[in-house]
């Protein structure tokens, strides 16, 4: 049976939410930034700012240079998170098959509900109206309708803001031939360049290119390219929530610094947040990665994989600091630190001989001491669940303060 898929892409999402909340920002170029606008990037530019040349991920000073009238607003993840939950809940009014693709994009399989393309356009219009009622008139979405996710996403990109674009199966080839290779999700600039180097400049040429040669060049991705060039894609709307692959946190320091104690404090604070999230969600990690970014925006990172799982912030910190200390270029001031715990397993699946509060290799907690540490941590978790993330802190972290308003790129308030 012919599938009917919607791709819903919220327009300039974080900026639109701010313009919905504050009507005095409407019609103006605004940029949503991290916690400190002057040391941040543009997480989202409003439609007005985009017209003036401001782009996502641009540094704020660069954006201000291009657009001096740009109004910088520190992101408010709590607000965006709630609106994301709100519109995704709304989508379930239309179909049970909803896949949250990102904070501002979702796929809906409406094959049964829509019946045909006419029904799909009607449902998309209804959905747009419900979105206006639930979230406000300034929060709009572009909707793509197509026989698969690939073409639906391509279609939603074509009319912004607030467009509805239909690509029927019989229009797929014409649609692909009207766009650039890199307009398709899955073909990035680097891949576009490699295709160009093979003489493939557009989808027509990609279709004509022998499949065997594509597979020789790109492996299984070559098959995907061949199918995509014909407007075909096998992936269905995935309604099952996938477990996270990693839990991480990064933080731009208030000032670039050479001070290892200050770095340790922020790193420990981040490790505690990461560990709390893992314990709350029932995960333990077997790998820690760190990233160091310097004042000149260069950076380096390192990963350590270990046998004994852990969800203890102090243990994560011990590993993370060893990594930071081993890779850090001590001649450069540090601007940002990041830590990520990966190789995650569910607490219930971790091997019984392994304590979730130790990671081997000289753990600070053995026997009675470990038991005591475990019970303290368990009590602290209960306090945090009841009273929130600011209900306790380590004494060593008192001299520093993580800014309340973290980057709009991540939902740090859920830590």
């Amino acid at each position: 049976m012919q599938k009917i898929i919607l791709h819903i892409d919220m327009n300039s999402y974080f900026a639109s939410v701010e313009q919905q909340a504050n009507p005095f920002l409407r019609g103006k170029p605004i940029g949503i930034t991290g916690k400190r606008s002057e040391r941040s990037i543009i997480a989202t530019a409003s439609i007005e700012a985009k017209k003036l040349g401001v782009k996502t991920a641009m540094s704020t000073w660069q954006a201000k240079k291009i657009c001096p009238s740009l109004i910088l607003i520190a992101g408010d993840p709590e607000k965006y998170s709630e609106i994301t939950h709100r519109f995704n809940k709304l989508f379930f009014e239309f179909t049970p098959f909803v896949q949250e693709f990102s904070v501002d994009e979702s796929f809906l399989d409406i094959t049964e509900q829509a019946k045909d393309w006419f029904g799909a356009v009607y449902l998309a219009q209804q959905l747009r109206e419900r979105l206006r009622e639930e979230c406000g008139e300034w929060i709009t979405a572009s909707i793509g309708i197509a026989p698969n996710k690939l073409l639906a996403k391509l279609s939603s990109d074509l009319v912004k803001p607030n467009g509805i674009t239909l690509t029927r199966s019989e229009d797929a080839i014409a649609r692909l031939d009207s766009v650039k290779l890199t307009d398709l999700c899955g073909i990035g600039p680097r891949m576009g360049k490699r295709l160009n180097d093979l003489g493939i400049m557009n989808f027509k040429r990609l279709r004509e290119f022998p499949l065997e040669e594509l597979v020789d060049e790109f492996g299984s991705y070559g098959t995907w390219l061949h199918e995509a060039a014909h407007g075909r894609e096998a992936f269905e709307v995935n309604v099952e929530e996938e477990d996270p692959k990693s839990v991480g946190h990064s933080y731009t320091l208030p000032k670039d610094t050479f001070d290892p104690v200050l770095m340790q404090r922020y790193l420990l604070g981040m490790c505690e947040k990461v560990a709390w999230r893992m314990r709350r969600d029932g995960f333990v990690a077997n790998a820690v990665s760190i990233y160091v970014r310097y004042g000149d925006f260069s950076g380096n990172g390192k990963q350590h994989v270990f046998k004994e799982s852990t969800a203890d912030g102090l243990r994560l910190f011990e590993i993370a600091w060893r990594l930071v200390d081993s890779v850090r270029d001590k001649s450069k001031p540090v601007r940002l630190l990041g830590i990520s715990a990966s190789h995650l397993t569910h607490t219930s699946e971790s091997k019984p001989t392994m304590s979730i509060f130790s990671a081997g290799g000289g753990s600070a907690f053995g026997g009675k001491k470990e038991q005591k540490h475990l019970s303290v941590l368990s009590a602290l978790d209960k306090i945090q669940s009841r009273y929130g993330s600011k209900s306790w802190t380590r004494a060593s972290l008192l001299p520093i303060a993580f800014q309340d308003r973290a980057s709009g790129l991540g939902y740090d308030h859920e830590l």
Partner: protein
């Protein structure tokens, strides 16, 4: 002008149809009549639910915080055009 603050304020509100709607606010010895409620969202502090009301009058945007446990109102953001 955009200010982040945490000022205790008096708010006159209606509680009807399971919805709270702030109507008037008294801040710094001045009364403000709320013209529009533009967005309402919630957040959790532990198990406590906090309501945020993004509201505006003719010249200002206000973000009001209502603590559902203590029923205290705070003004947490002001933006004047």
């Amino acid at each position: 002008m955009h200010n982040i603050l945490h000022d205790s304020v008096d708010v006159l509100a209606t509680f009807a149809d399971r919805r709270v709607r702030p109507l008037h606010m008294r801040w710094n010895d001045r009364n403000y009549t709320i013209k529009n409620v533009n967005l309402v969202h919630t957040a959790r502090e532990g198990q406590k639910k906090i309501f945020y009301f993004s509201v505006s009058d003719i010249a200002n945007y206000f973000k009001l915080r209502l603590d559902s446990e203590t029923l205290e109102w705070h003004l947490v953001e002001v933006y004047s055009s």
